[in-house]
């Protein structure tokens, strides 16, 4: 076990769960099941990026949908108009989101009041959405940006040419699962690193952290930039997965509400929380379709029950998932 890195040893149940999830295409090839689980994994990555800023660094931002949407639109538009492969353009989307994240962070650093920070970031995201809606010549606004190419086929040794089109749900599932595993591995390493410990200290007390020599500007800027990069990257993956974008679907406030619910239900400030929350809420939202008109009512009741009986999130229920380790030093 010592051969494994600390971040992997620290969360064995999480990695076991991720590994099991990766086996799903071997169990079923049902396109609907794979589609729902693929979406759940996309939301898990997006919620994880938000969780890094809010749950680990205490930056109460409510504008992450802007980074997701910027990543999605930049990647889609550069693939459509630039003729570039989505494998390349997804990094354009991620970098564009990161640059915007860093620029947005600079004025935000002056705001210490949480309600003000929340409203300013929300307003920023709405500005991006409205801008996107009005740039009809470029984005087609709410008519939807259609014709986005899927990820181009890859030549995989032993498997030949693997496609990721709408008919190739299993290979697309594996692609998104790989993104999820890579994102969680990166975040797992980050939060257990020197930087991770320092950003958690900032979350708990900015004043105390500053009194220990921590440069708040430097670490907040770093965290929001990384968080925006991840949101932008997964936004790009989303664009080349659903193949059509509208400002409401990729930049709407409902997306942020959904990520908030996923993170809170799963467990804010934990590595496994966003994945657990996303699987529970995305799958149950689909499962509750049988409830017809009462579906959203039942969905609401489910969230209320989780908040009542697991107010710190499902990931913090010791019996189910073990105590989420926060002790960065303990695993070293």
């Amino acid at each position: 076990m010592r051969l494994l890195p600390a971040w992997l040893r620290a969360s064995p149940r999480l990695w076991s769960g991720v590994a099991l999830l990766g086996l799903v295409p071997l169990i079923t090839r049902d396109a609907y099941v794979l589609q729902v689980l693929s979406l759940a994994m996309i939301w898990a990555i997006f919620a994880s990026s938000w969780n890094l800023a809010v749950g680990y660094a205490g930056l109460k931002t409510f504008g992450h949908q802007a980074f997701f949407g910027i990543g999605a639109y930049v990647s889609a538009l550069s693939a459509m108009h630039g003729g570039l492969s989505p494998w390349v353009t997804m990094w354009f989307g991620a970098v564009a989101a990161a640059v915007v994240g860093a620029l947005v962070c600079l004025p935000l650093l002056r705001i210490r009041s949480l309600p003000h920070l929340a409203i300013v970031t929300l307003a920023f995201a709405e500005i991006v959405r409205i801008l996107c809606s009005n740039l009809v010549d470029l984005t087609r606004g709410e008519l939807g940006l259609a014709g986005i190419p899927p990820f181009t086929p890859l030549s995989v040794p032993g498997l030949g040419l693997v496609s990721f089109g709408p008919a190739d749900r299993a290979s697309t599932f594996v692609l998104i699962w790989s993104c999820l595993a890579a994102s969680l591995a990166f975040l797992g390493w980050l939060v257990r690193s020197r930087t991770g410990l320092i950003i958690q200290a900032i979350r708990d007390s900015q004043v105390a952290a500053e009194s220990l020599g921590v440069s708040l500007t430097r670490y907040k800027l770093f965290t929001l930039t990384i968080s925006a990069f991840l949101a932008g990257a997964v936004g790009a993956v989303y664009a080349h997965f659903v193949l059509v974008l509208t400002p409401t679907s990729a930049l709407g406030i409902a997306l942020m509400v959904q990520m908030t619910a996923i993170t809170l239900v799963g467990g804010i400030g934990t590595l496994q929380g966003p994945l657990i929350g996303s699987l529970v809420l995305t799958v149950s939202a689909e499962g509750l379709r049988m409830a017809g008109d009462h579906r959203m009512l039942a969905f609401g009741v489910l969230i209320v029950l989780v908040v009542l009986f697991a107010p710190r999130g499902l990931a913090r229920l010791d019996l189910l998932f073990g105590r989420p380790s926060q002790a960065a030093g303990a695993a070293r």
Partner: protein, 249 residues
């Protein structure tokens, strides 16, 4: 006035330091000199401006006027984190532990920010936690500590930054009487390592045990300064601070 520099300069100096909040002079033209390895006590009634003075010295607040010098260097415009990295650390009257981090991690943060390698920072954290008598609670979260333990944690955390000057804000405040001698012992041992101490304290017995020199503040101003025994015995100080009006008569 030109600042002293090099080895001759005091560890910490405030020159005409002032802070005005909406017309109220919280700190008014305060002069303070702390020698290297010296322990200076700041006393005064509630609202005298002691904590505001600490906030000005530590960089949590920017002064309305005056200067702060650390070993002769003018640090008035420096941020709190830069002051800390230059050797000026502090504790807080209302303790601020990192609630979700363990005691060990709380102390580790300061050592890591100082630039230690992870292994060296861990060794330093273990040593400091032992130094302040918190080894038994090293794995406990900051939120689970008693007031006395929080005060000890603040001391260990401040020491993890290797300060040359340490500002201690009511280190025994709110602590049960049984824990006070232990805390006094910890602070005294810190002083013996050559760290200059500036101590705010309400308990006169404690401050006279720890500080060699006292500064008495009232309404933002320095009223008296001198050897601890002399200042504590002054009639005007006892009248203003302890309400012993007979003493002033």
């Amino acid at each position: 006035m030109a600042a002293n520099s090099g080895e001759d300069a005091p560890a910490l100096e405030a020159r005409g330091l002032s802070k005005v909040f909406g017309g109220v002079h919280a700190v008014d033209a305060m002069d303070l000199t702390v020698g290297r390895g010296e322990a200076v006590g700041i006393i005064g009634p509630n609202g005298a401006g002691k904590t505001t003075l600490f906030n000005l010295l530590a960089g949590s607040l920017q002064p309305t006027g005056g200067q702060v010098l650390l070993r002769g260097a003018d640090i008035t415009s420096w941020s709190a984190d830069r002051r800390c990295r230059s050797g000026l650390a502090r504790t807080f009257q209302v303790t601020l532990p990192f609630d979700d981090l363990t005691v060990f991690e709380n102390v580790l943060v300061g050592a890591l920010v100082r630039g230690e390698t992870w292994a060296a920072a861990e060794r330093l954290a273990i040593e400091l936690i032992e130094h302040v008598g918190l080894s038994h609670a090293a794995a406990r979260a900051g939120s689970q500590l008693s007031t006395g333990q929080r005060k000890r944690l603040e001391l260990a955390r401040a020491l993890s930054t290797s300060p040359s000057v340490l500002l201690l804000d009511e280190v025994t405040g709110g602590v049960d009487q049984a824990s006070v001698p232990g805390l006094i012992d910890v602070v005294r041992r810190i002083g013996q390592t050559g760290v200059s101490l500036v101590i705010i304290e309400h308990n006169m017995t404690v401050i006279q045990e720890l500080a060699t020199r006292l500064v008495f503040m009232h309404q933002g101003r320095k009223i008296a300064e001198g050897p601890a025994g002399e200042v504590a015995a002054r009639r005007d100080v006892r009248a203003l601070y302890l309400g012993e009006h007979d003493a002033a008569a």
